[in-house]
C-alpha cells in the first residue's frame, strides 16, 4: 500500500513550502523528465527550422523573380508585341492568349465539374459507381501533364482534326481542371450543415430546389475558391498547352486560332537564353497573376468566414 502523503509530508517538513520538483519522488524521475524536456525542445526546434526552410525557399524564389523581373515591368512590356528573333518588346499577345485559353477552359470545365460534384455529394448512393467515379477523378488529377498534352494532341488535334488552337488547348486543360473543381465543390457541398437542408426539405422543396436554392448558394464561396485555384493551375500549365495550342505568337480572336501562352513563352525564352530579361519579366507577370488569384481566393474565404 502506498501512502502518497507520507513522503510529501516528510519532505515538506524538511524543505518547507517548495516547488513541485522538490517533491518529485526521486532523482531518477527528475533526470528522466529533464531528458524528455530536452528531447521535446530539440524536436520542436527542428520543426521550427523545417518550416523556416520552406518559407525561406519561397522567399528566395519570389525575391529572385521580383528583383530581376521588376525593372522589366512597364506598360510598354505589358501592352506591346514581341518582335525579332530575341523577342524584344512586350508580351501582350501571350497575356491575351493565356487569359483566353484559361477562360475558355473554365467555361467548359465548371458546369460539368460542379454538376458532377452535386451528383456525388447529393444524389449518388455510396456504391460501386461512386467508387469508380472517385477513382477516375483521382486518376485524372494525377495524370502527368505531359501525358495530358500528348492525349490532347492525339485526340483533339489529330483524331478530331481541330487545329492547334485555343479550343483544343481549352478542352485539354478542362480535363485537367475537372477533378480540382469537382473535389473543391464536393467538399464545399458536404460542408453544408444538415439542418440547412432539413429546413428546405421541411418546407416541401424537391431535391433540386434544395440543392439549387439552398445548398449551392451556401457552398458558393468555397466553390469559387476551388475555381480560382484551378484557374491558377491552368494559367501556369505548360506541357499541355505546348502540344495543343502551339507556340505561334498570335492575338487570338476566334477559338480556332493558335497562340502562345505566357508559360510557353517563358519556357522558350529561358531555354534559348537569348533574352533573359524578357524571361524574368514574363515569370514575374505569371507569378503576379497567380498571386492575385490566390489573394482573391483568400479574400473570398475570409469574407465567407466572417459571414457564417
Amino acid at each position: 500500500m502506498r501512502d502518497m502523503f507520507s513522503e510529501d509530508r516528510e519532505r515538506l517538513k524538511e524543505l518547507g513550502p517548495g516547488a513541485m520538483d522538490k517533491t518529485a519522488r526521486n532523482e531518477a524521475k527528475r533526470a528522466r523528465l529533464l531528458k524528455e524536456r530536452l528531447a521535446n525542445n530539440t524536436a520542436l526546434a527542428v520543426l521550427w527550422v523545417a518550416a523556416g526552410i520552406t518559407v525561406a525557399a519561397l522567399i528566395l524564389i519570389i525575391l529572385y523573380v521580383v528583383i530581376n523581373g521588376a525593372p522589366m515591368i512597364s506598360p510598354k512590356f505589358i501592352f506591346t508585341w514581341p518582335h525579332g528573333v530575341s523577342a524584344k518588346g512586350g508580351i501582350w499577345p501571350t497575356i491575351i492568349s493565356t487569359l483566353y485559353v484559361t477562360g475558355l477552359a473554365m467555361l467548359i470545365a465548371t458546369p460539368v465539374a460542379v454538376l458532377a460534384a452535386v451528383y456525388l455529394a447529393e444524389y449518388a448512393k455510396q456504391g460501386r459507381i461512386v467508387t469508380v467515379i472517385r477513382f477516375a477523378a483521382d486518376s485524372l488529377a494525377s495524370v502527368p501533364s505531359i501525358v495530358m498534352g500528348l492525349f490532347g494532341l492525339a485526340f483533339f488535334v489529330e483524331a478530331f482534326h481541330l487545329p492547334m488552337s485555343m479550343l483544343s488547348a481549352a478542352l485539354a486543360l478542362s480535363l485537367l481542371m475537372l477533378p480540382i473543381i469537382m473535389r473543391a465543390t464536393e467538399e464545399a457541398i458536404r460542408a453544408v450543415p444538415r439542418y440547412i437542408r432539413w429546413g428546405s426539405y421541411g418546407l416541401g422543396a424537391t431535391q433540386w430546389q434544395t440543392v439549387s436554392r439552398v445548398v449551392l448558394p451556401w457552398a458558393m464561396p468555397r466553390i469559387i475558391t476551388g475555381l480560382v485555384l484551378a484557374m491558377g493551375r491552368a494559367i501556369g500549365e505548360t506541357a499541355v498547352v505546348f502540344y495543343t495550342m502551339g507556340m505561334a505568337i498570335n492575338m487570338p480572336l476566334t477559338p480556332l486560332e493558335s497562340g502562345r501562352s505566357m508559360a510557353v513563352h517563358l519556357y522558350l525564352l529561358a531555354v534559348d537564353g537569348i533574352n533573359l530579361k524578357a524571361a524574368y519579366g514574363t515569370a514575374l507577370m505569371l507569378m503576379l497573376m497567380i498571386f492575385l488569384l490566390n489573394m482573391f481566393a483568400r479574400y473570398i474565404q475570409r469574407r465567407y468566414r466572417k459571414v457564417r
Binding site: 502506498r2 502518497m4 502523503f5 510529501d8 509530508r9 515538506l12 517538513k13 518547507g16 513550502p17 517548495g18 516547488a19 513541485m20 520538483d21 522538490k22 517533491t23 518529485a24 524521475k29 528522466r32 523528465l33 524528455e36 524536456r37
Partner: protein, 277 residues
C-alpha cells in the same frame, strides 16, 4: 466533520504544510479568464484526499473550466489566464518552474467524450507506462491487466487486447480511457462529465469502479446529474453563473449529505430542488 460552509471573499492565509495534511488541492481566490471573458471568480475550495468530490451546477457554470485548472489543461488553450493560488500537495502548481508535464503525470483526467488513441487496446493502456520509461513486456503486461481490471473492463476485452481501441463500444472506450489513466497510478483522477456520452450499463460500471479505487485515488468528478453526485460523492461543490456574461462563482461546498439535505445558501437550495435548469 466540517459543516457545509458558504464561501466568501475572505483572503486566506494558511500555512502550507498544515494544509497539506488535510487537503490535496488547496485553491484560494482563483480567477479565470478566456481572453477578455472572465469565466470564474473568487473560487476557494479544499479537495480532501481519498474521497470523491463532485462539482455540480447548470451547464456553462465553469465547473469544467475549474476542473481543467487543476491539471493545467487550460494552458493548451491560447489566451487563457489564471490568477489566485492552486496548491497541490502543498506546491503552487502555477508557481515558477513547475512543469505541467510532471503535474499531469500525477493528476489524471477523463474527458466527456471517450478519446482512446487509434491504437490497440493494449497500446492505449501501455501508453503512460511507456512514457515513463517502462519497456519490459512482462511488467507492461501486468500493468495493463491490473489497470483494465481496476477499470472494470478486463473481462470484456481480455481476448481482444490487440483490437483497435476505437472498435469497442462508447462505454467500453470510456472505461479504456480510465484504465489508461490508472496505469500511471495518478494521485488524483479528474473526471469531466465522464458518463454523459455512454450507455447506462457502463455508467454503472464506472460508478462502481470509482468507489473501488477510492482508497488509492482521489477523484474529482464534474457532473450535471445531481443524482449521480448524490450517489457517488463524499463532498459536493456547487458552481453557478448567476448573470450571463458575468463570471461564475462557487456558491457552496461541503459534505454531500449536508449539502443536499441542508443547503446553507438559497441558490443551492433552489438548484437542488430543481428551480434552475
Amino acid at each position: 466533520m466540517t459543516p457545509a460552509t458558504v464561501h466568501d471573499s475572505t483572503v486566506y492565509t494558511v500555512p502550507l504544510v498544515a494544509v497539506a495534511d488535510e487537503t490535496l488541492f488547496f485553491v484560494r481566490n482563483l480567477e479565470f479568464f478566456y481572453g477578455d471573458f472572465h469565466a470564474l471568480t473568487n473560487v476557494s475550495l479544499d479537495i480532501h484526499p481519498k474521497a470523491i468530490t463532485a462539482l455540480i451546477g447548470p451547464s456553462g457554470c465553469g465547473k469544467s473550466t475549474f476542473l481543467r485548472c487543476l491539471d493545467r489543461m487550460n494552458d493548451l488553450i491560447a489566451g487563457t489566464k489564471v490568477e489566485g493560488s492552486v496548491l497541490f500537495s502543498g506546491s503552487d502548481i502555477y508557481g515558477p518552474g513547475v512543469d505541467p508535464v510532471d503535474l499531469r503525470r500525477r493528476v489524471g483526467m477523463i474527458f466527456q467524450q471517450p478519446n482512446p488513441f487509434p491504437q490497440s487496446i493494449y497500446d492505449n493502456v501501455a501508453y503512460g507506462p511507456r512514457l515513463q520509461g517502462i519497456r519490459k513486456k512482462s511488467e507492461l503486461d501486468e500493468i495493463v491487466e491490473d489497470s483494465l481490471k481496476r477499470a472494470n473492463l478486463w473481462k470484456e476485452v481480455k481476448d481482444i487486447l490487440s483490437k483497435n481501441g476505437l472498435a469497442i463500444s462508447g462505454g467500453q472506450q470510456q472505461r479504456l480511457c480510465i484504465a489508461r489513466v490508472l496505469a500511471v497510478e495518478p494521485d488524483v483522477l479528474l473526471m469531466d462529465e465522464p458518463c454523459s456520452a455512454i450507455d447506462p450499463t457502463s455508467v454503472q460500471k464506472v460508478e462502481d469502479l470509482m468507489a473501488e479505487i477510492k482508497e488509492e485515488v482521489t477523484t474529482i468528478i464534474v457532473t450535471h446529474n445531481m443524482q449521480q453526485a448524490a450517489r457517488v460523492s463524499d463532498y459536493t461543490s456547487f458552481f453557478l453563473q448567476e448573470v450571463a456574461g458575468e463570471p461564475a462563482v462557487l456558491v457552496e461546498s461541503g459534505k454531500t449529505n449536508d449539502l443536499f439535505t441542508n443547503p446553507q445558501d438559497k441558490r443551492t437550495e433552489d438548484y437542488i430542488t430543481g428551480r434552475f435548469g
